[in-house]
């Protein structure tokens, strides 16, 4: 239940931001959408097994390591995408004086 709330609110806030003006806010929206997707990936392994998936470290049953591995790379890739969007905003600030593309259309 809490997982559903977390994913839902992050997705909603992200959606709201990507529909605003300005590339930076769109970038921030994508960060939040990324959080939502990442949390969903991790909880897809189940929330009942929460042990650290390291041999000899977990007291209880270990969490599913596969979604964690996927999520780890997803976080870094998301970072790469954020940087790319920021670079777009950076470039737009040079070309347009602002990161808002809508004046151009």
């Amino acid at each position: 239940m809490t997982a559903a709330v977390i994913v839902g609110i992050l997705a909603a806030a992200g959606t709201y931001l990507v529909l605003q003006r300005g590339l930076v806010r769109i970038a921030l929206g994508f960060v939040l959408l990324g959080h939502a997707a990442n949390v969903l990936l991790v909880v897809s392994g189940g929330i009942h097994r929460r042990g650290v998936p390291i041999e000899g470290a977990a007291a209880g049953p270990a969490a599913d390591p596969l979604p964690q591995a996927f999520t780890l790379t997803a976080i870094v890739i998301g970072f790469g995408m954020t940087a790319f969007l920021l670079a777009l905003a950076f470039r737009a600030s040079r070309d347009l004086g602002d990161d808002d593309l809508e004046d151009e259309s």
């Binding site: 997705a11 650290v52 780890l72």
Partner: protein
């Protein structure tokens, strides 16, 4: 020995293509001479296997190519291949000789010679191919080189003609590909000799109509058959040597070659022969009528080529030994006279500055040698005895008259063939007449001997082979053998006695002469005749409409307003989520309750506040601050769910993201742009929808208690097989290392994109003045942080850490350096350019993978070594090298971001 020589011939020509740019740089246009010698050498190499072929053998070279697809690289020289190989290499050599004088002496010709030689190699490969896939690959290569040669460096007209030719032959090529794939599936082999030895397997199957129709679509488009003929006249914008070689002598005959090659399939049964013969003969008549209307010599020759291709296609369609022997003779005859005429037109164009047949009068007086070559070729084209063009046509009439089929078929075909031939006679006579008769209107001279020699060579060969046509019998015989599998007895001769074919030939000459004699009246009669729809215009209309439809369908997603197309994406994702819910929810077990802690609820509540704050923040600084808090809370979620690696990664990424955002914000206004109320409510509605679907989906799909099968396997195998106790890390660098390799590649590409985007932005405004405390902190902390990064990198296999986390720690060190003195300080700590780090990391990762292959295992297969260290022993996994590669790429990417966004000075 023989089979290797067949391969060597193709190899020689491919080598010539590699050599061509060097030769062209060294010799300029004279590169044509050594290339012609290489063509001749490739032909000479074929002499030994050719003797075996003339004895009725089939010389086969079969090499392993794609064992997984059961495709072998088969080259086979038989009679039909020999005929076309001679054509490709001999005419190729002549065209090379001609190019050496046709091209301008002072320009660069590396591209031209390379492409022309490459085309020749592709064409040779096409006619030697013994496997359907090999055939297809070379077939497409000829289309591509043809496209590049037509388009050249010309302007819009050349480009659109090239595009038209390429699309028509390319679509035909796709059809052919489908046909050949179905054919090899049906036959269970791609080996053409096995498919054709037992034609019933393919031609008798239920798929036969589809297969043969697809193959014919390829053949008809390539050989410019009606109604696909229109691309060929357009292709005449190419330089004359290209028109001569590709669009008259060789490439356009590939379709005829294919149909002749597949004769056993088309002859097996069904209406195929009739269809091919009728399409061919209609093409012959339409092409010849259109040729009669042309005044531009090159256009006339183009339509004439269309007509002759139709004639050849019809002969291939008849498919009897006699028809194929006539086709063999006519292929040679046509190549010889058409090559001559194209080359002569090029000469006249160069010397007289015009290609208009009405201005081309009295040539004999000013350019006697050129006129003589023109005359010889025109007479052969017209079908005048004793030229080869006459013999081949008479043999063709005989073959049509004896064509198997219903009673009406043979006479109809023969009559149509004779009609097209008399039209051909008429325009051939016009060229001859133009060359020799009439007053001289310009001051002209014969060109240099070296320019004229190639055309004279082909013109005289056409005459010599007509008189000595008996010499062609062995080649034509083995070529015709494709129909039965054994060499055919053929008797090509200038004089067969008084036969029905001779009567037809006489009628052809008579009618042709009448058409020529009364040419003014013919012209007047033809004037109002137009095809109801020009193929080219129709094609252009379809082409433009396709592009317009593409633009229209993309319009909603290409607006300048990001929200407009992001809205589409979000809406379809939401719709897909709802649809998935409707489809799968009945099978999904009800979510399990319980398993939640008080901590979960607190974090969730805080996240609701944080996310709402991030969405509603008005100022940039406020938004970044809230964003950092949200990221921190997400890290806590990962801790609660048992993912320490994730939590560390998330925290570091969040820190670095905030650093980057701040760097970018320095150049932007403080506050966000306000948006209107309507837009805000729309966004809010969309947000609620997306959030609700995401929450419902999460609730419905994440309730299971059992661990996934894959997860259980990794937990078990990670420590044992990959030698690491940290299972998440073993998945990243070992079990699913290929995924990781793909991901760091994406990261590297995105980093290069960031550098390119930011490269144009000048960074003249200085970074904020660093405080003394920051400088001191950087000085003190940096060595420790570097050590920490190395420590996390090394222990990653057994405890939280690894390449990703270590690189992010190192990235934080770089941020610290930046804050204490700008990009200059970053560079002094990390003097390597970011792009080199990206490259080195990817190379290391790929090299590690390749080492696994070389060691006899799989790509990216690791190894574990036990290392004795005195009393203690440690396990060392080779995958550490891969993790170092990951480290370098991620660090390189982050360094690239700092270089891109940061200021040079502190």
């Amino acid at each position: 020995m023989s089979p290797e020589l067949v391969g060597l011939s193709l190899l020689l020509l491919s080598g010539a293509a590699l050599l061509a740019p060097l030769l062209a740089h060294a010799l300029g246009r004279d590169a044509g001479y050594p290339l012609a010698a290489l063509f001749a050498a490739a032909l000479a190499v074929l002499a030994v296997p050719a003797t075996a072929v003339l004895d009725g053998e089939r010389v086969v070279l079969s090499l392993q190519w794609a064992p997984g697809l059961d495709v072998r690289f088969i080259l086979a020289l038989d009679g039909l291949s020999l005929l076309f190989a001679i054509l490709v290499l001999a005419i190729g050599a002549v065209v090379m000789l001609y190019s050496a004088r046709y091209l301008s002496p002072d320009a660069r010709h590396a591209r031209f010679y390379t492409l022309l030689t490459l085309f020749a190699a592709s064409m040779l490969g096409l006619v030697l191919a013994g496997d359907v896939m090999v055939l297809f690959v070379f077939w497409e290569l000829t289309s591509v080189t043809s496209f590049l040669l037509i388009g050249g460096r010309g302007g819009g007209e050349a480009r659109s003609a090239a595009m038209r030719a390429f699309l028509v032959t390319g679509l035909g090529g796709l059809a052919l590909f489908a046909g050949l794939v179905l054919m090899s599936i049906t036959a269970g082999t791609g080996d053409m000799s096995r498919i054709l030895a037992d034609p019933g397997v393919v031609a008798g199957s239920s798929l036969a109509p589809l297969i043969l129709a697809l193959v014919l679509a390829g053949a008809f488009t390539k050989s410019a058959q009606f109604p696909f003929h229109f691309w060929l006249p357009g292709a005449m914008v190419a330089p004359t040597p290209v028109s001569t070689y590709l669009h008259a002598a060789t490439m356009v005959k590939a379709g005829v070659y294919l149909v002749a090659r597949m004769t056993p399939l088309f002859a097996y049964g069904g209406p195929w022969r009739t269809i091919i013969v009728l399409v061919g003969l209609v093409t012959a008549i339409v092409g010849a009528s259109l040729a009669l209307k042309q005044y531009d010599l090159k256009a006339l020759l183009a339509y004439s080529t269309v007509s002759q291709l139709g004639f050849l296609m019809a002969l291939a369609g008849v498919g009897t030994s006699a028809a194929l022997a006539a086709m063999a003779a006519h292929v040679l005859a046509h190549a010889l006279y058409k090559a001559t005429l194209f080359m002569v037109v090029g000469i006249i164009d160069r010397e007289a500055g015009s290609r208009d047949i009405r201005q081309l009068t009295g040539l004999r007086k000013a350019m006697p040698l050129t006129a003589a070559a023109t005359g010889l070729a025109a007479l052969s084209m017209a079908g005048f005895p004793p030229f080869l063009g006459f013999v081949s046509k008479e043999e063709a009439f005989a073959a049509f008259l004896a064509a198997p089929g219903p009673g009406w078929f043979a006479p109809t075909a023969a009559a149509m063939a004779a009609a097209s031939a008399s039209l051909t006679f008429a325009y051939g006579a016009r060229i001859f007449d133009g060359a020799f008769e009439g007053p001289l209107t310009q001051e002209l001279f014969d060109p240099r001997r070296s320019f004229l020699l190639p055309a004279a060579l082909t013109a005289l060969t056409g005459l010599a082979l007509g008189i000595g046509v008996g010499w062609l019998n062995p080649v034509a015989g083995v070529a015709a053998g494709v129909a039965t599998g054994a060499p055919a007895e053929v008797d090509l001769a200038l004089w067969h006695g008084f036969t029905p074919a001779l009567a037809l030939a006489t009628a052809m000459v008579t009618l042709g002469f009448v058409l020529f004699r009364f040419r003014q009246r013919v012209d007047r009669a033809l004037e109002p005749v137009h095809l109801p729809a020009s193929g080219a215009r129709l094609f252009d209309r379809v082409y433009d409409a396709t592009l317009a439809a593409g633009r229209a369908s993309a319009a909603p997603f290409t607006s300048g307003v990001p929200a407009a197309h992001l809205g589409w994406v979000l809406a379809s994702l939401t719709a897909a989520g709802v649809a998935a819910w409707l489809v799968w929810s009945p099978q999904t077990p009800a979510p399990l309750t319980g398993g939640e802690t008080g901590a979960d609820q607190v974090v969730a509540a805080l996240l609701v506040l944080g996310a709402a704050g991030a969405a509603l923040a008005r100022s940039r600084t406020g938004a970044v601050a809230v964003l950092g808090i949200v990221g921190f809370l997400v890290a806590v979620v990962y801790v609660l769910l048992g993912g320490p690696d994730l939590a560390i990664t998330q925290l570091l990424v969040e820190t670095l993201t905030v650093a980057l955002v701040v760097l970018v914000f320095r150049r932007l206004p403080q506050a966000f742009r306000a948006v209107g109320r309507v837009r805000r409510s729309g966004a809010a509605a969309a947000a609620v929808m997306v959030g609700a679907v995401a929450a419902l989906g999460t609730y419905a799909l994440t309730g299971r208690r059992e661990i996934s099968e894959a997860g259980a396997y990794f937990l078990r195998a990670g420590p044992d097989e990959a030698g690491g106790r940290n299972v998440v890390n073993t998945i990243l660098v070992d079990f699913r290392a290929l995924d990781t390799l793909g991901e760091i590649t994406v990261l590297a590409v995105a980093a290069v994109g960031v550098m390119a985007l930011a490269a144009a932005v000048r960074r003249d405004d200085g970074a904020p003045d660093p405080s003394l405390m920051l400088r001191e902190a950087a000085r003190v902390l940096t060595p420790g942080m570097i050590l920490l990064a190395v420590y996390f990198l090394l222990r990653g296999h057994d405890a939280p850490g690894g390449g990703f986390i270590a690189a992010l720690i190192a990235g934080a060190t770089l941020v610290l350096q930046y804050l204490s003195g700008g990009v200059r300080r970053v560079r002094s700590l990390l003097p390597v350019p970011p792009a080199s780090l990206l490259g080195a990391g990817l190379l290391l990762a790929v090299g590690y993978g390749a080492a696994g292959l070389l060691a006899g295992g799989e790509f990216l297969q690791g190894a574990i070594w036990e290392v004795e260290l005195g009393p203690a022993s440690a396990k060392l996994a080779a995958s550490l090298a891969f993790d170092v590669g990951v480290f370098l790429v991620v660090l390189g990417a982050f360094a690239a971001y700092l270089h891109a966004f940061g200021s040079e000075d502190g």
